[in-house]
Amino acid sequence: MQESLVVIVRASITFFTILLYARLIGKQLIGNFTMFDYINGITIGSIAATLATDLSSKALVHWIALTVFIVLTILLQFIGLKSRYLSKIQDSEPVILMQKGNILEKNLLKVRITKDELMQQLRSKDVFSPVEVEIAILEPDGTLSVLPKSDYQTVQKKDLHVPAEPVKLTTELIIDGKVIPQNLEQRQKNEDWLMDQLKIRGVKSLKEVSYAALLPNEMFYLDKVDDNISDDLNISDYDGPY
């Protein structure tokens, strides 16, 4: 038996199967990583590893197990979409851990989180005093959402009556010397305008451009391949290479 060859074939099947199944599951798995999602992900990974390397059993058996896990995961996603009640049964409900600066011990006990862990989660949300908290909620994915008391909320532009400007995204126009016509069109610009902008900045050829974009404030951003950076800010202690 050519074991290396068999492993290459099985590993290739596993690799592309995982890629395909990950696309089928969608982005939800990464966004809302509940305990179940976490364990499910590990189990799927473990089955995939066995599919690739365990030659003592048929590849098909593990492939079927992998497929069943993915089908059930997708099925649960759909059930969650169709029924809010069943979705809550799957993922549990958010739990209030703090209200008006008070720690709710009963709820902490219910979700088995210590006060130290609660404080750590608050600090990671830039809340360094429990007094600042109006309400703190433990989400089903294990993250803490904190609503600060009104006194501790950051000032918004509208509070100061500063006129609002429309928000936009940075639009990439050139990446690695290649123009992206769709993005140019999106910001109502054309290639002539782009070439003019490059000429103004002393760029003779598109090959010189590493990255160019139109910023939200309509400013043109350019990064050339040649960075012309001096050695002043070199943080390395030795010549290298390492």
């Binding site: 074939v9 099947i13 059993s57």
Partner: protein, 120 residues
């Protein structure tokens, strides 16, 4: 065209993976004139029953060559233990022919028949 490609390639991949993983049952069947392992082993059985040791040895050599070909074809879809077991059974048959021990050979041959039915 792009949409067709996006659906066609994954479907083709899943289908070909499935075929590779289930191919053992039909890839063990003969494809050429010299790879009918089951027939060669049956010939060994009849030669051994008639105590025709020279012909049994010839059939064994054919069976061994056929098995080397089949093994490569089915290795992607069958369990390693099954391949090892068939290998061992054939080696024991070879030993039995050398020793002219028909009882030992017949028990190994029937073990082989069982394995052969299940493999794939």
């Amino acid at each position: 065209m792009k949409k067709f490609f996006i659906y066609f390639v994954p479907i083709l991949f899943v289908a070909s993976s499935f075929i590779i993983m289930t191919s053992g049952s039909w890839l063990k069947e003969p494809f050429r004139s010299d790879d009918d392992l089951a027939a060669y082993v049956e010939n060994i059985e009849s030669n051994v029953r008639e105590e025709n040791w020279e012909d049994a040895n010839k059939e064994y050599n054919r069976a061994r060559k056929a098995w080397e070909l089949i093994k490569i074809r089915i290795q992607y879809s069958v369990e390693r233990e099954d391949i090892v077991a068939i290998n061992e059974a054939l080696f024991r048959v070879e030993g039995g022919i050398e020793a002219h021990d028909s009882q030992a050979i017949l028990s190994e041959i029937y073990y082989f028949y069982g394995l052969w039915r299940e493999v794939g």
